[in-house]
Amino acid sequence: MPRHVSRGPLLWLLLVGIAVGAGAMKLQGPWLDSNLLSMLPQDPLPANARALAEQHQDRFTDRTLWLVPADNAGGAAAHGRALRAMLKQSGLFSEVGPNLDPARLQQRYQALRPYRFQLLAPRDRQRLENDPQALIDSALARVFGPFGLSGDQWRDDPLFLFEHYLQALAPFTLELEDGLPIATADGRYWALTTATVRAGGFALDRQSPLLSVTNQIQQRWPDSLVTGAPLYTAAGAHSARQEMSTVGLFSLAAVATLFLMLFGGPRPMLLALASVTTGLLCGLAATLWVFGQIHLLGLVFGAGLIGVAVDYSIHFFCQRLDQPGVAPRTLRRHLAAPLALALVSSVLGYLAMGLAAFPGLRQVAVFSAAGLSGAWLTVMLAVPALSGQAPPPPRQRLLARVGRWRRHWPAWCRHHRPVLLLVAAALIATGLWRLTPDDDVRHYQSPPAWLQAQGERIQTLLPRGDSRYFIVHGETPAQWWQREHDLAGELDALESERGALDSYRAISALWQPEGQQQALRQTLGERLYQHPRFADYLRQLGLGEAALARQQQALEDAAGNSLSLERWLAAVNDDSLRGQWGGCDRHGCTSLVQLAGLRDRDTVAALAAPDRGVYFIDRAGAVSAVLATLREHLAWLLLGAYFLSGLVLALARGPTKALRLLGVPALASVVALAALGWLQGGFGLITVLALYLLLGIGIDYAIFFSQPEKRRDAAALAVLLSAATTSLSFGLLSLSATRLVADFGLTLLLGIVAAALIAPLLAAAPRPDPQPGARP
């Protein structure tokens, strides 16, 4: 090759430069997204409601919860402090707490006391309407009950209404020891700590430190418990990353070894690696550029793409092996058309996947399309010019042997056609029949057993929360309140009549608009303070006339006192209630209703009425359903992808040849699915994704085999090499402990072997031949 600098490699360098630059610009931020939920479509929510929902979601996705036990509260608090020190020291957490002031409840009491006639617990509000005397009777029972009575509070609150209200504000108050909340269970004391993983804590480099801090803490306190989404994500990402890097490295190593052995010298190997790396870089850069982030799923798929991207190089060097006398540039010209066809048909297939309304899949589509194009461009632009002048090692015997296989294998099949067809049809039919859909989201994450066990134990120690909730939206503050209040009424009914849930927490149950606060004070005066039984009650308890006058005066004095929602939230000073209020802006007002102990999800979910601003949010629970829809969606799009690829192939080669070419991936997919059925794999979203990869790989194989006869031996070698490297790496994946990854690997392993065996069968025979046997 003359020493002049050709344009191809320069263009290629430019491409790599752009990809690196674009990728690097985007890699500054949190670029890896491993939250399964984020690949799902967003719930349809009004603009300002979404912010509230996301903020609430973040409490789940960023927060970890730790419990450390001791035989007494003091010991637990001491351990809790030490644990917090370790968490802070790790630098992984932005917030470690909570530190609660024991005077907090006292302060709340003082702040709300002037408004005690306007604030009633929901149950007392009902009784005031229906049966005010019952309030007096239950106060009497309380006075003479076992709990005793302290005069100070009684004087202000003779009927214990304010006590009830404060209790309703804080139904599950954990006791404090040295500022740390302490839960008691089974005679042990558990100090509670929550720690929020620092923003962007999901970046790849933070995952393992989180697990190692957890490990240190669990070694120091073997009985301590931890839970939280970041740990699940970290553990999931950890194993996924390990598996992906194993597969990625193994694929690369296999490619490198084969290239070194077959093509002689490091140059072909380095060029193949350059092509694959360029592909991955382009895929990553394009995805980051378009989406800002890349989902773990995209990376998983990306690692799988190595096997496809290397095909172009393999093909080039196999041709070179076969025709050592032909200049690389001429080879490129020969290969340009089939490789371009292979590229365009696969890329169209992947882009079809991007039509699905799921952000995660769009990423996969963009990653694959850009990645394959990058690898292809490398082979077209740089590889021929850089492949050097040294003649390839003589591999005529190998080529001859492969050529024999290529000719004998179809002949053998033709010879035994009736038997083979029968056996294959039977095996495939039963296999497909055994295949069952599997969209269980748990198979997508297999958390370590210890983490799962600790999470379950924690649920028994702490008041149960629920990840599902309602969002309530109204265009005006009044409309919002009324809507939430109505929802609360319906929840009350479900709670008491059907036991559909244990409890809920809604702002409107604890705070009423200022006008209603005044009305309530008035009702309280009319129905209770002027009730003859109230005077009797005070008199009989010995409080005397003065007390009655004082109570009535206090009630009068409170006229005009009322609390706006903001001031009420400030007075209550409770983080979780504050987190339920989304505020008002020009779009309207939003709040969140928390649920606890949800037993009958569907009944509760049926209260949602988006036309009345009431949304039921159940992201995690909906995942399985969404995955099923997604799988169906993708399966249809896969047909679309076949159609698009078929169209391209038909335009290039005519309809009959296009059918033969498409037959390779199609038959390979059917064989893979049937084999999966026999091996009792599940047919899920990831299987369909694997079929997309198989479409690209199968078309490559088919196109290689459909070249002029003189190049077919090299093509057969290329296909066998490609099949060997890719099936090796996917074979490794099929050993994964995560069902999802294993299914993905298994489908591809089976599919690739099938495609390699089917491709020579469907290749148009060199001599005109009667139509090949009946095909399904």
Binding site: A134, D137, S138, A141, R142, V143, G151, Q167
Partner: protein
């Protein structure tokens, strides 16, 4: 000199412990019974009132089941504490001080020293033929509403006194104490139907 002081401290220590009972000794006197049935007379001394508030009635405490507290005078009323939920006069009601406080109270009534130890500093002593326990809350949250508890008796607790930070206090005395092995059918029904 140092050793002399040490001796004195040691002597003082032994002298003090001679006048006191150990918790272990008190625990040994407590009857090991799952059920307590008794009449009570409760007097609440509030600075607010010229006269103490006096109530009489009967109570039934069954560990694992809950507490039934029936007032006969001056007004009839009934409080049931079952599974951490309070029912007053048959209606679900707010539990003053939350579930934790209710558990402490049941531990006091049954003289469950082991359950009380983590929450209170406990001093034991002897007064006549009775044991006495003085309980001071260890925990800030509780100390803000309750400054101390005293209880005592010959065998099981026969009285308990709750002291509040503002100086108010209440004393409840038990009489006709029984420790039956099982609940009567009527009592079972009272536990079974809170409402």
């Amino acid at each position: 000199m140092k050793s002399l002081i040490a001796c004195l401290v040691l002597l003082a220590g032994t002298a003090a412990s001679a006048a006191e009972l150990t918790l272990q000794q008190v625990a040994e006197r407590l009857p090991d019974a799952p059920i307590l049935r008794a009449d009570f007379r409760q007097q609440q001394h509030l600075a607010l009132l010229p006269q103490p508030l006096t109530a009489t009635g009967d109570l039934l405490l069954a560990s694992e089941r809950g507490l039934l507290w029936r007032v006969r005078t001056p007004f009839e009323s009934e409080i049931k504490l079952i599974n951490g939920t309070l029912y007053s006069n048959g209606q679900a009601d707010t539990l003053p001080g939350g579930e934790a406080f209710a558990r402490r109270l049941m531990a006091v009534l049954s003289g469950d020293i082991e359950a009380l130890k983590p929450h209170f500093r406990i001093q034991a002593r002897e007064e006549g033929d009775q044991w006495r326990l003085d309980l001071t809350p260890r925990n800030d949250t509780l100390a803000r509403v309750l400054s101390g508890i005293r209880l005592g008796g010959r065998q099981g607790p026969e009285f308990f006194r709750l002291d509040y930070p503002n100086g108010d206090y209440s004393v409840t005395r038990l009489s006709n104490i029984e420790y039956p092995d099982t609940l009567s059918d009527a009592e079972e029904r009272r536990f079974a139907a809170p409402r």
